[in-house]
Subunit: 220 residues, 2 copies
């Protein structure tokens, strides 16, 4: 009755795609998220529904059951704790840890997770600014906005990223954009929606809409 590596991945991805409101996730979105074909997704959804981990009606998309969400949050907790470990303890860059954490998140043992969390000082956020659920599955719901949603004149702080892949994060590193840095929006271009911003009142640069869609910020 244990859950496989693959099942755990589905639950995690359903959670991530259904957002804080828990909206229905489509088969195609899951195929994209799991890098498989829609037909494979359908098969897996049947199995997860069988196990009462998701609510599934043909052609209607899926949502997590309470049990499914609990499991998903455990995986997410592990993923984010391991990311903190990799960055804080082992000295990896925030652009290097996603793929390794994808593996580590499937290591079982509640005792391991709890001891890891304690060792790390029960961190609340991972290196990408994502909140870390506690052992009971409670996760602070941060309501940030995307940088692509702000207007000229706004002053904001970078709180998180939506893309965790190496190329995006390396691009941010090269641009000098890190968590916690302050941005003043000087100008937003009409034709391509790119933003001219000043970082920490020092450096000025353009941020493309492509990038600003993946940056989470909070107004000052």
């Amino acid at each position: 009755m244990a859950n496989s590596f693959t099942e755990e991945n589905y639950l995690k991805i359903i959670h991530n795609l259904s957002g804080p409101e828990g909206v229905e996730v489509s088969t195609n979105a899951l195929a994209e998220g799991t890098s498989t074909r829609a037909a494979s997704v359908t098969d897996m959804l049947k199995k997860l529904a069988e196990k009462q981990l998701i609510n599934y009606k043909k052609y209607q998309g899926v949502t997590l059951t309470d049990e499914g969400r609990t499991l998903a949050l455990k995986i997410i907790r592990k993923h984010r704790l391991w990311e903190v470990f990799l960055v804080e303890t082992l000295g990896f860059g925030w652009d290097e840890v996603h793929d390794i954490a994808e593996e580590l998140e499937h290591i079982p043992s509640d005792r391991l997770v709890d001891r890891l969390a304690a060792f790390l000082g029960n961190p609340q956020f991972d290196p990408h600014g994502d909140p870390i659920p506690d052992a009971k599955g409670n996760m602070p719901a941060a309501n940030y906005l995307k940088l692509s949603e702000v207007v000229e004149g706004d002053k904001v702080v970078i709180m998180g990223v939506l893309d965790h892949e190496t190329p995006f994060l390396q691009h941010l590193d090269r641009s000098g954009v890190t968590l916690g840095c302050q941005l003043e929006i000087k100008e937003i271009n009409d034709y391509d929606k790119s933003a001219l911003v000043q970082i920490d009142a020092v450096k000025t640069l353009f941020i493309s809409q492509e990038v600003s869609k993946n940056l989470l910020v909070q107004r000052l």
Copy 2:
């Protein structure tokens, strides 16, 4: 062309069963070691031979090729480093870490292993006294003897254990036997080969042959 979790386990177990001299390992011994049936082992041996990781001739048992041994040593290195991490960093007991390390040993990423080793101070031995291969696969060949092989009057130091399971290690804990403690062999009973020993010149107790067969020692 990557190697599966299962393949890695076979290589590790072949290494452990073939000892320092690299003797042939039988199909049945592997069935025992992998908790599967002999028929399943045969199938896997064919696949590993196909990949040139083992030398395999029907009915003749197997040995590792150089490539297979290199891979096996990488798995063993990871297993033992993670055990050090679990005990030294997270505070687990030496009796709790074997099963968790069995999972962690299959996490890929050479960078992870090297950084973990560096963080731990490049330890030479794991919490059970087993030597840890370095990044190049060199492992110090310690030639310890079993406690069951010593004679009356010998003074020895506990250097390692052959059974890594919780019940055995908890039994040692309850007996006050730890790595590095000194034993003087007072008497060996003829009928059941149990040994009367004095620990650290303080405490005296009987150790059954069952137990002494699983204790590695070095003469003083």
